[in-house]
Symmetry: C2
Amino acid sequence: MRDVAALAKVSTKTVSRVINDLPGAGPEVVERVRAAARTLGYRPNLTASSLRRSDRRSATIGVLFEDLSNPFDSALLRAVEDRARQGGVLVLAGSSEDDHSMQRELLLSLSARRVDGVVVMAVGGHQDALQQERDRGTPMVLVDRPPTFGGTDCVTTTNRDSSRDAVLQLASLGHRDIAFLGDRRTLWTSQERYTGYLEGLAQAGLTLREELVRTDLHGADLAEVAATELLDLAKPPTALFTAQNLVTVGAMRVLRARRLQHRVALIGFDDFPLADMLEPGITVVRQDVPGIGRKAAELIFARIDGDTSPPVHAVVPASIVRRGSGEITPSAD
Amino acid sequence: MRDVAALAKVSTKTVSRVINDLPGAGPEVVERVRAAARTLGYRPNLTASSLRRSDRRSATIGVLFEDLSNPFDSALLRAVEDRARQGGVLVLAGSSEDDHSMQRELLLSLSARRVDGVVVMAVGGHQDALQQERDRGTPMVLVDRPPTFGGTDCVTTTNRDSSRDAVLQLASLGHRDIAFLGDRRTLWTSQERYTGYLEGLAQAGLTLREELVRTDLHGADLAEVAATELLDLAKPPTALFTAQNLVTVGAMRVLRARRLQHRVALIGFDDFPLADMLEPGITVVRQDVPGIGRKAAELIFARIDGDTSPPVHAVVPASIVRRGSGEITPSAD
DNA sequence: TCCTCCTACGTCAACGTTGACGTAACCGAG
DNA sequence: CTCGGTTACGTCAACGTTGACGTAGGAGGA
């Protein structure tokens, strides 16, 4: 900047004025400064600028999800990024791997870089680190899972209601033995979906068979094992409700291996690519991922812009997409 | 920091020493400062620090891909992020949408934040903005597509050779009418894969039927149209080589709609989730995405650490994954 | 003519941090 | 007891930028 000022024969302050399109610079001077900046390849230093400016904005937000390579997470990231770009804001992204210390470290890293706000998919269990950061005044929005502390916005989907609807659909087809396969019980979404499952059973007048409930299935491999065990029961389930992405995939593999994919009904929570191309197509509860991302972005930017209205818990509705696997009736045998 | 110093009754310099674990602070003072920092909720300001420090590092790199919600891009991002985290480096991520002005703007944004380096999936066509940034001294690694200018590292896969091998495999099964369906011709990868297709035909002694070559299919919808037209030809192809992810999906849809999925052979470039669960399983050329990401990260961090050896073009081998659709022999009729 | 107001600049200090350097106290060796 | 060296601090300025304020010159009105 000093070099630009010297070359244009003005003060650095005037260069600043030109770069930021502030008034108080004559047209001739503006041109001289612009030319000098071009020839020197000058790039303003936003970090120095935000250090000095009164608003202290870094024009950067943090996004802290579980696994950026997961389709759900990356779709969410993309939605947030699109909204951010409209305001000239960039996104610092990190994967917490559902690990508390990782989440904590990443949060500190973001804090050290003075991000204007963070969008977090909270790790299950306690949220001490999140609350601490929130209490320091960092605008924060939780996605997918609500905060266990107050004063923070959050965006989730209709986990419980949609799970209940899925179970009710299966029950209405005549299924009486509906299994539940869920992810880690520490995750709020898992709990909600399980509660929805229970509500569905109750509303349909079905009794819970505890041996048909399998939880803590983190990843497709564990889900495969659980599905195998369920189908090996003396009285196996005639329908499966799989409460997460990868769990659905694991269950599908087992059904296909046993050629049961047309005999055992399956509804999964979370859509995934190509679910419609399988034989049969997989019926799923589809979350409105871009909708969730947009809402989260909208909330975080409102808070950054000083919105002090009471915290919001936005719920973005999910819907059942019928593709075949969830419309299978119980086998005669 | 001043507040911490005041509370601990030391100078800010001593606080700095304690925070950075530098020698020159007595154990008692260290404890006082740590306690003061804790009670005040002090967080170091990395931007101010990097402004003043001699090395000028922001401990942040930029990642500029085409679409972060694309599985290929997000897997790559994840691999880079994992490597970055090991060095305490965070990732600023952006989607260029294959648009020159977007890429340019994001690049300027990254530059303004003084990232230590950038990993870029270059937009097709000219690379003026990239070269300009590179010439300013920003360490840069291109992934998936090589630079059109010199002096820059890059990581790609065996686009040409693997495409040739795919075509040779189809030819060896007796296919003589093998169609090519490709993405935008401005993309280097498309060109390479097309060249591999031509090499494969030539090596197998097959003549090129130009009406079987369809390019500029950006997205599954365009691919569907093209596949439909190909199958409507008087002498339709008995095998398809689809040179990109979404193109493969589009072609698959058409084959299934016409119940030809067991009669027309299909090999796709790029793997995708659940390709093994379809009927038949889809034979693909699988890139080693984590390998590419790791290599790109390794290169960028080496450059950031001052490696001045000649630029490298790393080629990470892809391999054919046989799942059924690429092993179909030509129909009798 | 003189005073006021506005425009187009410049000067200075400060944002939070650290490199360079200074200094006082203490330690061990000769 | 002195002297060189080490340890444990402190002081000062600077990184690149901008808010606050100062000033010179010209335009315009009484």
